[in-house]
């Protein structure tokens, strides 16, 4: 299997309405959804995707292409609205959006740290998420912001929190006849802040290890904190227990150091061609500390 041509023999379908797409997903077998293709075509070329009979290109469904602040009606998210991202919105389309840059700086940073311009002109966030790589850069900050996914099939819609969406490397909650139709990032409250840090071998490469932190501040107390890490577990990891444990605590260097050690202890990273587990474990605490500090500062907090 080389990367020059696509050997697999499949039919190309290009539905123009969501209904049509959902009908295809319901009736046909071995369907792969094509949005940007920068992951799908690559893996089909290298043969890491098994049997594909249909490639369903959803870019012709106009209604799926949006990345904007939207009211409740459109995406049924939490009270004070959310930033909604359609399945065919490209990474650059999202990163260039003013509202997103303003309200979700960590998300923007994560996206711009991905691959390179030409890839981001085609690749989509939805694709990155559905690809369910343990290192999905765009998912890490989204988990921290508490993103919610809308999955839809002919049978109906359901909402799934992003951190619950992943089952394992390449495995997601999606049923055979379902597709991801919306990503909703809840607008963060006023005094909150986030941070995203990525370590990779070379800039365009996939992260060796990445971290996302979101803190909602109440004076000097942590009202709410969500920490997520990439490339440290079989799926993008939401460090739930530790994150929730911080609620209500006084933010200070000791807490930061203690939290970092707790996270480090909790991790069971593996070695792969990018780096080894010792490095990941050692670096994880450094990232957590840095991330917490940065997020706290972004939330307007001070550290003595």
């Amino acid at each position: 299997m080389g990367s020059r041509i696509l050997l697999s023999d499949f039919a190309y379908l290009a539905p123009t309405t969501l209904a049509e797409a959902l009908q295809i997903l319901a009736e046909k077998q071995a369907v792969k959804i094509l949005a940007g293709g920068t992951d799908l075509l690559l893996r089909m070329k290298l043969g890491t995707i098994s049997h594909v009979d249909y490639v369903m290109d959803i870019k012709h469904i106009k209604e799926l292409n949006y990345a904007c602040l939207c009211d409740e009606k459109q995406c049924g998210s939490t009270a004070n609205g959310a930033f909604c991202i359609g399945p065919t919105a490209t990474l650059n389309q999202i990163a260039k959006n003013g509202d997103l840059s303003r309200l979700f700086p960590a998300q923007r940073e994560a996206i711009l740290a991905m691959a390179a311009t030409s890839v981001r002109n085609r690749g989509t966030m939805a694709g990155n998420i559905c690809n369910a790589s343990p290192v999905a850069d765009s998912a890490i900050p989204a988990i921290c912001y508490g993103a919610a996914l809308t999955l839809q099939s002919r049978r109906g819609k359901r909402i799934v929190a992003l951190e619950d969406f992943f089952r394992g490397p390449g495995e997601t909650e999606l049923e055979k006849d379902e597709m991801l139709v919306n990503i909703a990032l809840p607008v963060p409250p006023a005094d909150s802040g986030a941070a995203f840090i990525k370590k990779s071998r070379v800039k365009p490469d996939i992260a060796k290890i990445s971290l996302g932190v979101f803190i909602e501040r109440d004076g000097t107390l942590i009202k709410r904190c969500r920490i997520a890490m990439g490339s440290v577990a079989p799926l993008p990891l939401y460090v739930q227990k530790i994150s929730e444990g911080l609620a209500g605590l006084e933010m200070n260097e000791q807490l930061i150091a203690k939290t970092a050690q707790m996270v480090k202890a909790a991790l069971k990273p593996i070695s792969d061609l990018r780096t080894n587990q010792e490095y990941r474990r050692a670096i994880s605490s450094v990232l957590v500390e840095e991330g917490l500090r940065l997020a706290w500062r972004n939330a307007g907090g001070e550290l003595k």
Binding site: T117, S118, V119
Partner: protein, 158 residues
């Protein structure tokens, strides 16, 4: 294998082609339209040698199905110059002798042209970041970055 009739406008010239569903845009440009300016370097979106312009955006033609490109207005490196008149980036590459083996230059010049259409006064860092997806093994990028700076300046009329 399903077949599809597609229309491509490449460097201003219309083409009507019947393509197989698994045919890639890069191979159609090279082997069917004989525009061999766009190069195959990796096939997996890393090297940038296959970059083309889809409208004003730089896109990796090795990761696009030909059928997806139906209706596109494509510019390949062959379409950048106007007869003997090179586009500013190409001219700057020559003036700064930024071309050695030249295999990466088509992709580099296409992506740089996209950059300058997006941002007419990029800093050196911005250029480096923008071009980080276009590998070059000969030049070490220095002369290329300078060339993009010069081209940007020239286009701003300085």
């Amino acid at each position: 294998m399903s077949k599809h009739l597609i229309h491509l406008t490449v460097n201003g010239k219309e083409h009507e082609l019947t393509v197989a569903s698994n045919e890639l845009l890069l191979n159609v440009l090279r082997d069917r339209l004989y525009l061999t300016g766009s190069k195959y370097g990796c096939g997996v979106g890393d090297c940038g040698a296959c970059s083309i312009l889809h409208g004003d955006e730089s896109v990796l033609s090795c990761l696009v199905l030909a059928v997806e490109a139906d209706g596109w207005d494509i510019t390949t490196v062959e379409g950048l110059a106007d007869g003997d008149q090179l586009n500013p980036v190409q001219q700057a590459f020559l003036d700064n002798s930024a071309v050695q083996c030249g295999f990466c230059v088509p992709g580099m010049v296409i992506t740089s042209t996209a950059l300058l259409r997006e941002n007419d006064d990029p800093s050196e860092a911005e250029i480096k970041d923008y071009l980080r997806g276009n590998y070059c093994r000969c030049t070490g990028y220095v002369a290329m970055i300078k060339s993009v700076m010069d081209a940007a300046a020239k286009m701003r009329g300085e």
